[in-house]
Structure formats: C-alpha cells, structure tokens
Symmetry: D2
Subunit: 338 residues, 4 copies
C-alpha cells in the first residue's frame, strides 16, 4: 500500500499513521518526493480499511499493491480448483460442463421432459428456476418449493444433478437438502448475509457476477463464501450493464482469462441471460468455449413462445443439441473436451 501525503503534512501527523501500521506488524518506508511525501506499507494490508485512512486531511490518495482477497487468490492456491457437483466435476483439466434447462420450472412433466432432452443433447447438469427474481411484482414469481421438488423428480429420472437459484437465507436448509449446486443470482451477489450463510454449508455455490460489479467485487463476494469455510465456489459471468441497450447486458468474455489468472476457481458463462436473445446464444457459447470457459449455462425450453418467463432467450432442444456439438468441436481446438 502506498499512501501519498501532502507535502505540508507535519511529521508528527505522518508518524501517527506510521506508528499505527507498525503496531500491526507492517514494514514502513517514508519517501520524500518533490510534490508529495510517500509512505510505503509492506505487509498484509487486506485488513486495513482504506477509506478510514483517506479521511486524514494530509492524505492525498492511496494505492493498493497486492489484492484484498486471500483464499480466492491463485497466489495462495496455484493449482486450479475442481468443484464436484454430485459427481460432475467442474474446473481444471476436466471436461467442459454444459448446464441446460428452463428459466422457470413450470410443472413436473415439463421439467422431466426437458431434463431428458438436456441429457440426450450432452448436457450434464439441469438448471431450473423455482424462486424467481422478477422486476415486476405482477409477473410470475416461480413455483417455489414445488418447483424444487419437481426438479428432484427429474434428477431421479435422468441422473443429472440440479442447479437452482436461492433468494434468501431462510431457504438454505431446503436447498442444501435438495439441490446439488446452489446459484446466487446477480441481484444477490452482494447480499452478504446470504453469502455468509452459504459459507457455512459445504454445498457447491454458483456465484453469478452482479450486473454492475467489478471483477474485484465479484472475487470479494467469493471470498465471503470461502472465508466461512466453503471452498466449493464456481464463478458465473452473465453480462454486465452498459449503455448499449440492444442486448439485455454486455457479455464480458475477457473475464475468463482474467479470472483464471487471479484465482483458482472455475468459471462458467451464461450466454442466455447475458444477451437476452436466443439468436445470439450459439455464437456466444462457442466464443465462451474458445475463450477458455469451464462451462456453459444455457436456457432451453421446448416451446419458448409459451415459456412462463424469459422465452425470448431460450433455445429449443434441437438448437441446444447443435450448440453442444459445435462447442465440443471448439473445445477440442483449445485442448479441452466437452
């Protein structure tokens, strides 16, 4: 950490800062510049509250050196983490995993049929929404517990592990009992109470990036889960909010390699929510695999025009199968399998 202080800062004021850091066992150097005085702090500065320091009137600015996260960082865990989702392994040199299924679970027959289609097409995890975060209170809010139970039936049928979104801490027992991979949605990426509670479980967590969250904030949210003791975190990019309104969000595929450099955690891409447009799902799926993603999460619905939510971004099973096959060919080019 480098603290830039005003040139006219009295030495006694600088000493207060220096002493404080030394008390934390950090190593300090003071450097006199022409326009500024610098205090360089070496040590584990993650515990320092930067904003608190900034309110010192003699402090002009602060530069963080190093990272504020620890367990998430590749520095502390150089090998890729592999997360085991009820037997399906995600991350590392493992096969790229495709997850598919409807935005919303609509009924037992629907989810069982789709599950079969997903399996036939080469998908290995079934997704389905039971508790739905909807912008409007007047639109379909999901089947809730009933939806989760239908998914467990579908799992019995096909053997595919299931992933579904959790929206509040009071559902954790229900999810731990029934779901194989618990999704934290974009809107809850900084619902810290939820993250803390999930950190106390040992279930795999699929942590979506928030609509307007930086990569660093996303990794800090993963750190919340890992700080609680749960190391089974999978990251999922699903587009960020930008000025462009043609797509629902802007899919940021550069995060794949950035995340792989900074952390050991696996990363999955959701092209359906990112684009909000089924016509873009194939190209973005192939691009994601080419970029090095460890998995894809794709919305599939047999009759998108009748879906209870997000039909516009859902592929028909036939198209899903096409995408899986093309993605497999791309995977081979980049030294992976699918």
């Amino acid at each position: 950490m480098v603290i830039t202080c005003k040139k006219d800062a009295p030495q006694e004021e600088l000493n207060k800062i220096i002493t404080k850091f030394e008390n934390y066992g950090m190593q300090i150097k003071q450097i006199e510049g022409e326009d500024y005085t610098l205090i360089v702090v070496v040590g584990d500065t993650a515990i320092i509250d930067e904003k608190r320091l900034m309110c010192n009137p003699y402090v002009e600015s602060i530069s963080q050196i190093g990272t504020p996260y620890k367990k998430v960082s590749r520095i502390w865990h150089p090998e890729d983490s592999v997360v085991d989702v009820a037997g399906v392994k995600i991350g590392g040199k493992e096969k790229i995993v495709v997850m598919g299924g409807p935005c919303s679970v609509e009924g037992l027959e629907q989810i069982c049929d789709i599950s079969q289609e997903i399996k036939n097409a080469g998908g290995r995890i079934l997704r389905g929404g039971a508790y739905k975060p909807r912008t409007s209170p007047y639109t379909f809010q999901g089947l809730g517990r009933e939806g989760i139970m239908y998914m467990t039936q579908a799992r019995k049928l096909t053997g595919l592990p299931i992933v579904s979104e959790i929206m509040s801490t009071d559902k954790i027992d229900e999810f731990v009992e029934n779901v194989d991979l618990i999704q934290v949605g974009a809107r809850n990426m900084q619902n810290f109470d939820l993250l803390k509670a999930l950190g106390k479980t040992d279930k795999p967590i699929l942590l979506k990036r928030g609509l307007s969250n930086t990569i660093e904030e996303w990794l800090m949210s993963a750190e919340y889960i890992m700080a609680g003791g749960n190391n089974n975190v999978i990251l999922c990019e699903r587009g960020i909010r930008t000025f462009e309104t043609y797509t629902r969000n802007t899919l940021d595929l550069s995060v794949v390699q950035i995340v792989k450099k900074k952390t050991h955690l696996p990363i999955v891409i959701d092209p359906s929510h990112a684009t909000g447009n089924w016509e873009l799902v194939e190209s973005m799926s192939l691009a994601a695999v080419a970029a090095g993603a460890d998995g894809l999460m794709i919305e599939v619905h047999p009759q998108p025009e009748c879906a209870w939510s997000d039909g516009q971004q859902s592929l028909k099973p036939k198209n899903f199968k096409d995408v899986v096959e093309k993605a497999r060919a791309i995977a081979k080019v980049v030294g992976r399998d699918l």
Copy 2:
C-alpha cells in the same frame, strides 16, 4: 403496447396473438405498414410478460406505452404523498428534512453525542449503520442488534427518530420494533423477498436506488413494497455506477424532477455515498435542495479520521451545521423551508 411483426407473418399467427390479448379484455388494432405489420394493444398491459411475447419468431420488437407500475404512479395518485416518520413529515409542501449521523454506530456514547450534534445543527432524523454491507469479509461488519439498541437510547435522549439499514428478512421484527424508518440499501434494491416482507409492515421504508438500476426498476421495487400494502415509501438517490472513477458513484440529480413527475413519492438525496468524498458533500447538498429534493441524508462523524467505516465521506459536526444553514437559504429560494 405496440407489437411490430414481420411482414411475412401468416395471419393465423397474428390472430393467435390477437386472440390472446382479446381474452384478457384488451382492445386490438392491426395496421399494415410497408415493412412491418403492427398490432396495437390498448388496455392494462402491465400484466403481460413482454419477454414471453418476444420469443414469437414473427415478433420483431415491442414498445411499451404507459407504465408497468401502478400504485407508484402519479397518474393514480396525483397529489404528493407525505410520509410520517414518527412525527417528522417528508414530502409534499412539508419542510425539507435533513438526516444525519455516522456511517456506523460505534458505541453508545458516540451515537448519543452525534445525535445531539445533529439535533443542534438542525437535523431532524438520526442515521446510523448497525448491520453493514461491506465488500470485504475482513472489515468491520457493524455492531448489529447492539448498534440498533444504542440508537434507541440516542432517540430517547434527543427525540430524533432513527433510520438504519436492514439486510435480511429475519431482522424485520427487530427493525419494526425499534427503528422509525427502515432503509433498504442499494445492494438490496432488488432483493425481492426483502421488499415483499417489508410490504407487509406499515413502517416507513427508505428505498435506495441500486448502483446500476434504472429509474423504472427503482420504481418497480417501490411497487413491490406498495403492492404488499405499505404505502410509506421514500425514495433515496445515492449515485449510480459509471465509467468515472474519481467519485465513488455519479450522483444523478436529474432524477429529482423525473421522479416527481412519474410518482407521488418523496425523494431524498444522499450526497455522502454518492460522492464518497466529504469535500463534495456541501456542494451536492446545496445542488440537491436547489433541484427540489425533499430531504438530505448526510454522514456526520466527530472524528472522521477515526471512523470505523466511510470516514472519508463524513462531515464534521461543524461542517454539517454549515451545510444545513446554507441549504436552508437555498430552500427558501425554491419556495420551501428546512
């Protein structure tokens, strides 16, 4: 709602859409354009799931006419709403209300002292954080219930009603019992479970705008609360996330008059979180009052350099008093009092 259909759409496909809407009791007109066929739907289209319609392959685009919110809309409630926070009225022609206090409650003495300072300076509601949403799991997370109880002590001392942020549904009873105005923070603006639960209380709610949420999404979140039966909603703008990194966020003051046109709810500005810099708080406070805001929410700390969180954006009590006095002079120019 206007649905633009492809020119080659078979009439029987268009009829399916038309019939569906007619069954909802809506009025339909079909118009033949040169490049497109338009279906114009007149009626309460808020219940229609636009995305579901978009997945029809013959539909090119959809334009919403009218608004997706109802209870929040000024069309349905032309007069300004006035929300009563334990005797302090916010909105309409009432005095502009200044809320002040520390980012975090740090102790009983601290919050009592600040409360006194806020009151002396002309502030009318005491703010204080007890449950803190922090990006890092390693920084101070707030005193929790203890912090709330200290605030109630401060209220006993000065008579100022108190506002604090709630982070999860399991704390609702605690907040309803102890707090006068319950704040929903930016990160939880689309925590729909929390909004629904708050809609069932009758406590005033301060709903902050999410970091990257549009005005419409913000009003939809207010609609969630009102749909549950709680009409006591106050909106709070606290800056949006943009590419500019000099300020913590970009304060969007144009929302004041936009919100006043679209809705009857009061609106308050938080210049402290918006800018993240105490040096900008005075100018943004005065600007907010000049723009027509119904209130201000300002962080105040006697020793910002020692604050346990967000000291950088806190005013000292003396500066807070200056701001209140200047804001009062501005208020008079725009026909209000403070």
Copy 3:
C-alpha cells in the same frame, strides 16, 4: 413510428401532427387508448426529426419502428457485402482476414521486419499507426507522413496491403494515394466532416466503433459514408467503455451476430485495443472467430517492452503466429477458412 399523445390533447393539435406527416406522403392511424391517444405513422420515417416532435407538449413519447439507416441495412441489401482491399477480400464466405502490425510505425526497418513476420505468420494486411491519437500532448504523436511512406515500402517488400488511421480531412489525399484501407478511429467515429469527406472517395474504410457509441450510432456513421457514395465500409469492434477498469475496454463480441443481422457489411474485431493486455489477445481472438467475425486486427511488435506506444497490448511475432494457427482451426469448426 408510434406517437403517444396525452389524453387531453385537443383534436386540432393532433390534426396538426397528422397533416404534417400526411404531407410527407405517410399513412396515419389514430387510436384511442384509455390513458393515451396513439398516432401510428407508416412510411419512411427516417427523414423525420424525432426530437422536434418530442417538444410538442401533447406528445408523451415516440417509438421508432424500423431503422433510421437505409444503405447500411440488410433489408435493402440482403447478401453479405464483400470489400476488396487491394486484392484481399473481406466479408461474406471469403476467408477470415487477419491484420497485424505495430501500434506505431517507428522506422523503415522496423515496419519492414514486422511486415515480413506478419506475412510469414499468415497475416494478410499490415497495420501501422503513423498519425496517433494520444491522450497526452507530451507523448509520442506518430511519425506522420514519414510513417505512411515507410509502410508503402513495407508493402513493396511483402505485397501486403496496408491500413492506417486518418485523423483529419486535410490528410485524405495522402491516404487515398498511399493507403489501401483507411481507418477511422474510435475517437473520430462521430467526426461527421471526416465521414462525409471519406464518403466521396472510393477507398475501403475501416470504421471503428466509438468508445461509448451504441450499435445504432455506429451504423449511422457507416450510413454517413455510404450516403456519400462509398459502399466499401468494414466495421471494427474494439471494446466499449464500462465501469470495469481491469481491461482497457470491454470487448462486446455479441455485436458480431447483431451486426450481421442488421447489416450486410463485414465486421472485424480488434482484441488488442479492446483489452489493452497482450495476455488476453489470444483468447479474445479465438472467441471472435468462434463468434463469426470476418477478420481480426492484432497488434504485433518484436519487442513490446521497447514499443513507442501500446507495447503492453502487443503480441510478439511468435505468439501472433500461434494465434493465427489456432484461429484457423476454430475457423474451420464454424465453416470458414483463414
């Protein structure tokens, strides 16, 4: 175009609007809704100035149906355009074209050497900056005309056509005479005087997307060039500005298929400027080809650490060759060659 008018608009005011459009030969329907009156306008509304209409106090909002561009639109030109750059064809079913070269031309030997490397690696057009847009007036501004002349020497040597950025209209003759593909940079995407002047030439133009320009604005800028009579336009995505600061910009690969749906023009991706980080260039190049791009534009420098500009985002020739080879394998999977 659908004009939503206030319910209390007098019929004579609506008639003024209607008459105006009818005088332009457009077809009008007026529809009475519950809350609003709609005027639906059918015809070529591209010539209508929407903002002028919006200032009518009885007009609530306007929805454009159809597109404001014509020559650029695929509706008017269903087949893919193929642009011929001195014998290298870009677009349609043609081979994917890789362009490579240094950010800045630094000398005759440098550009000749790199040109040879580009050719050997499979690159087919040489890029090089001679007139450089730099944020700071104190950094290297490019060799100017000298740089262009060095590039023509390199072309003589290897036969590769050359592309370079133009920054003002007074250099058009120089560029038309010497350069095979004239690049309009992101900062000049809405330098309309420049676009108009280029529209009067018949040289191929590489039109980069502006940092914060929507897809529609980008296509409108292409329309400026085509409206002048020059149909040889190639689009180039190079990242947009977002809140994320880890990468220089956020590369929006979803534009590839969006652009292909809306327009017949070829599209090329520049992963170097988009990411600003050579470590991300390979993955983004492969992703771009997987997404369906017609070309790549990659910065290459033999000693990036000594480059006079943008070395951080430049590949070494050896890495460039690797990328070209992997991209070729990806191209084959998506039914193209390279």
Copy 4:
C-alpha cells in the same frame, strides 16, 4: 510513480528500469515487499509512457502519483483563471455568466429576435449552432457559414458576444475572425488535430466533456490546447453516457468542485444537452449554480415545437427569464452574483 514488480524479477531486469529513470534525472527507491518488489520513482513522470513500461513482463502494475497534466493543474497556477470573452469575464469571483440561444441558427430574423430575448432576460453570451454534428446524415446539418454570419449580425444588434461549435480545422480562420468563444463539442473532445490547431490561436475555447470521457481525459484535452500556448480554456460539462436512458445523458454536477480543486480553469454547465428535456432544465440550472458553476449554457427557442433541431430540450424565452432570475437568487446564497 510506483512500479510493482514480480517477486521473481531478476535484479538486472529491475536495474534496467531504474537506470532508465535515473537517466531522466528522476530519484528512485527500491523496496522489498513480501509478495512484490516496489520501485518508487520521484520526479516529473508526466513524460513517461506508462503503457510502455507495463509491457515489461516483470511489471505487475503501475500507480501514478501526481497528475499527467501540468499547465491545467492548480498546483502550477493556484489562482482561478478568468477568461475574457469579448469583455464578458468567466471564472474566479466574476459574475456567473448565462449563455443562451437556439440549438441551430435558422435565419437572420430568428437569431436576432432570440438574441434580444436572451439579453432582456439577463443572458450575456449568445449561443447558436451553425455547423451541426448530427447522428443521421439525413437530418438538418446547419446553415454553416451563413449561420455564423447571421450570428455576427445579431451581435451587432445586441452587443452580446457569440459562441458556436467548430467541427474541423479548415474552419478555424472563419471562427477566429467571427466568433468570440469557439466551442469544441463532446464528439470532438479527443479530436487532437483540432485541439492542437486551436492551441495556436488566442481565442477563448469552450471545451465540452466527451460523452464517455473521464475527468482526467478532459483535463488532458485542455492541456493539449494550453500546451500550444492558448490559456483561454473554459470547461463545459454536458452529461455523460450511462445505462440510464430516461435522460439523454447523466449530468455529473460533482465535477464542478472536483474541477475547481484540480484546475484553475472556469467551468460551465449545459443542462439542455445533459438532460435532453426542457422540463429538467430549470432544476438542473439551479442545482449547477448551487454547486458552484461559473456559468450556464441553455438552449432557448421561441417556438421549441418548430425548432429545426433539439426543440425538445429548449426553453421558451419566458421560461429562460424565470430560470435566470431564480439562478440569480441561488447565486447570492453561495456568495456569487449573476
């Protein structure tokens, strides 16, 4: 400047960097951290090309201490600059200056009439567009030189100095001869050829902030003009592009005090382009004055519904007068006059 190097960087590599800086006369300290080695550079690092340094494989990141601009900086010129626009002084303790006029000059009578209205209302500079940057090539492009000449006639009539936008270097003589304040529009903020050419004149320049440019880039563009020798620069904020689409742009009023801290140059606010909505102009004008702006630039048109461009954001003369009067009252509260 602090250069964070990888821990495994060989000392000889670090020495190369160190020697390079020492050759520039800078002072260097090397500090060994646990995870990184730091090189702290003290001296005038504005001339260093940061990106070039970043391509060194042993360099992890670079933090700038101090600013990359010099002449613009308040450090080098502590007093406020006052720019004299044909007798009207802008900046410092001078009166706040209101500029008004139509988006486009439409004819001699129109501009003369408006000029009279502006003067009567208390406006002190006449704005008018003659060369118009329009997104579409099919909409009105301005009267060009004819428009400028009409403005000079209006000036003769009322004595108000005139401001108009320049779009290319070949018009500089025309503008220097006829216009009192030359506006560089948002789209040309980084048209560096234009900035350099304007730096060689001694005319006052009104430099608008680009749609998606940071404060630092904006100040660097001002530095381009000043580096050429022209110190008469006035900054103008006109809104930035964000995800919010309700307003044309998002007006960032916090820049007023930020700019005043960083630079000595005056700053003016344009609420008309920022909001794109005349109903928001009054509130944003008052907010701008309350925030400390040195001037306002407001679009005025006698019949906005008939304006040839941007009527939607224009005030009628009567409303303009109201705004000026209210702004004057606000000005007095913040210790200024108008």
